[in-house]
Symmetry: C2
Subunit: 404 residues, 2 copies
């Protein structure tokens, strides 16, 4: 009989969001008419901005006309988009990334999941805890439950920033601004990681999906702002949260030409070459119309519209921060991130606090324990609902704290 | 130092299309003003049909309005599309496939490449030769150059239909109508394969990307027309060639619920469950607007427009067949496929015939040797150019044969 990849059997089933849905459904059924507000949502809610909608309509029209129709595009993405990305996201900020180093794709979930295809199974892999579950699950799918996975605890004690590994680590996933904790890394802290990776000949997989939410220019938005990072890091970027593309699907990954590794036989290999081979063989490019939409984000109007969208979410984050602060909660994030990570009050664990918030305030959030064992005792709120609902939810949480 | 997946180093670099491009470029440079016709193209050329364009515009407008905006969709695809696929492509043809068994994705190249993620590395894998290179390359990426890969020779002698393996094979890739040979499998022949797979507890990966080109109802368009196939086959389908979606990117994969396998420990596992876990973890769905476009293909007008497109390409195929026949070529395919596979005349090998066709006729095709060693001595022409240019090219090839 043919065999399956049995590593899949070692994966925990992800019950987090289905458990939340079931609990909310049960509560609604037994409390009909109750107005429930969702601050657990990790998806954007504002519509696609006007200049992007226009670009979509224009390119759709092109596809209907023989003279302008486009079939297969380059697997790496069209030059018009790769050039806009290189110029606006990097070169204008003084970061030397060329269009050829950029691979356009359909989502950071795909790219952070697929990157393992080109990496060896013998690597020791470090993953922060709590964490976006894709890094851990896709590593388990590939190498199974081995002694090669290290969880780097992120807690209040270390400011939710992992300490540099004391033992050998070949690959580390870092995500800053962080999901779920909402925390950021300063330039100094990120420099420690780059220096560590260069010294140890390790690889950093840097997920910068939330960089657009950074409000302080002193905090690095790209790992390539740090000297030497071109020789030790791959960076993942997304249009999902910055321009509301969660339903349009576009992202990109940067693999610098300097990123080279010696094989067991001493042959020097370029990771750019390997990723290009992977993408050319297992991917056929992002839809033309979606790439035109992403290009429009880089127009002057597109940049303004994107900023307005981010400002709107960050006003919600400020509302949440202010409300939690006035109610005496301990919390983190929400300054350069749409996520606020609060410490559950009264010694409650993550799910106990979830239940109390649902039952007393009719507000839904996400239990921190769902992101890893170090998330126990914490709770994630997001800034993706609208201002009115966010304010209402925070008002209810304030009452909770005043009555306890 | 961190390690790479060294299987990548064992891959042959794919020089086929770059070599073709270089040769054409050199010829053009030394023969300025010469009118070169391309019949090597594997991409569609007709624009997206009107009802699909309308669906795109409508859904783009929805994305710009708060009340209708859609963020993350289900990783498996929206119900509206899965239901249309199940009804029109299967149930109306008497094939019992349910919407829940369908996984919408961004391309068959992705799915045929990624399917290996859920399969064990110990499987013996059989691949036809000549072949669409993705099956072999992605197998090599995963398990390396081992004695576990069997090439099934497809030649004039066996009618380009592989013989049933005489030794143990766990997984076989079959593509019918075939790329590159343009040949099809009869119901009887496909039944042999399904019976073989059931008897041997093997898995068939059936690529039906060209099923829409079948003109004869007696030839199976889906492997699930064969009794028992739900227990031994995964089927890949694409909108690329049927509805011209090569630049829009949409396809789907069918994983029936009956497809189950016992692990080494005797645990029974559903492949549907594994593929769902893979797609939920490493993919975030096909863009909403693209899924609405695919849905429109299933409307009565969409079906008519698709058929007109296919008819147009098949008229080109008929032109090519007639011309080659009158010129005394031996050739295959082109009846239920946009591909015509011709035997190089005068004992020429694939590249020699390529050169002669370019130099004498100014026509570009694809050397069969580029699809595997059993393709040596053959040549692929495609029906994707327009009628006028196709007729002109065939006229030139006729002169070549009359002067030889």
């Amino acid at each position: 009989m043919f065999q399956i990849n049995e590593n899949y059997l070692q994966l925990g089933e992800s019950y987090l969001f289905s458990t939340i849905a079931r609990k909310v459904e049960q509560f609604s059924a037994s409390h009909p008419g109750v107005d429930i507000i969702r601050l657990g949502i990790g998806d954007v809610t504002l519509p696609i901005s006007p200049v992007v909608i226009s670009a979509l309509h224009r390119s759709v029209d092109e596809m209907g006309v023989k003279e302008h129709f486009r079939g297969y595009g380059p697997e790496q993405g069209y030059a018009f988009l790769r050039e806009a990305i290189a110029e606006i996201d990097f070169q204008k900020r003084g970061i030397g990334i060329s269009p050829a180093e950029i691979f356009v794709s359909d989502g950071s979930k795909s790219d952070t999941g697929n990157i393992g295809d080109i990496l060896g199974e013998g690597n020791v892999v470090a993953i922060t805890d709590p964490v976006y579950p894709v890094y851990l699950d896709t590593t388990l799918m590939r190498i199974g439950k081995t002694d090669k996975i290290r969880l780097l605890c992120c807690s209040e004690e270390n400011g939710f920033l992992p300490e540099l590994p004391q033992e050998r680590v070949d690959i580390v996933y870092l995500c800053y601004p962080n999901n779920p904790t909402g925390t950021v890394m300063t330039r100094e802290q990120l420099t420690w990681w780059v220096d560590w990776a260069l010294e140890n000949e390790s690889l950093i997989l840097f997920d910068a999906a939330y960089e657009a939410f950074i409000r302080d220019e002193s905090i690095p938005r790209s790992i390539y702002e740090i000297e030497g990072a071109r020789g030790c890091a791959i960076e993942f970027r997304s249009f999902s949260k910055s321009a509301g593309f969660t339903g349009l699907r576009c992202s990109y990954t940067v693999v610098p030409h300097e990123l080279r590794v010696a094989t067991a036989n001493g042959v020097e290999v370029s990771l750019h070459h390997l990723w290009n081979r992977r993408q050319s063989t297992k991917f056929n490019g992002t839809p033309y119309v979606i790439q035109r939409a992403a290009e429009a984000v880089y127009s002057p109007q597109g940049q303004q519209e994107m900023q307005a969208m981010i400002d709107s979410y960050m006003q919600n984050a400020a509302l949440i921060r202010q409300g939690l602060s006035e109610s005496g909660f301990t919390f983190f994030g929400g300054e350069h991130s749409p996520y606020i990570w609060l410490k559950c009050p009264d010694g409650l664990d993550s799910w106990q606090f979830f239940d109390r918030l649902l039952e007393v305030c009719h507000v839904v959030g996400t239990p921190g324990a769902g992101f890893g064992s170090s998330g126990e005792g914490y709770f994630r709120l997001t800034a993706f609902n609208n201002a009115e609902r966010t304010a209402e939810a925070i008002g209810r949480i304030a009452q909770l704290s005043s009555t306890r």
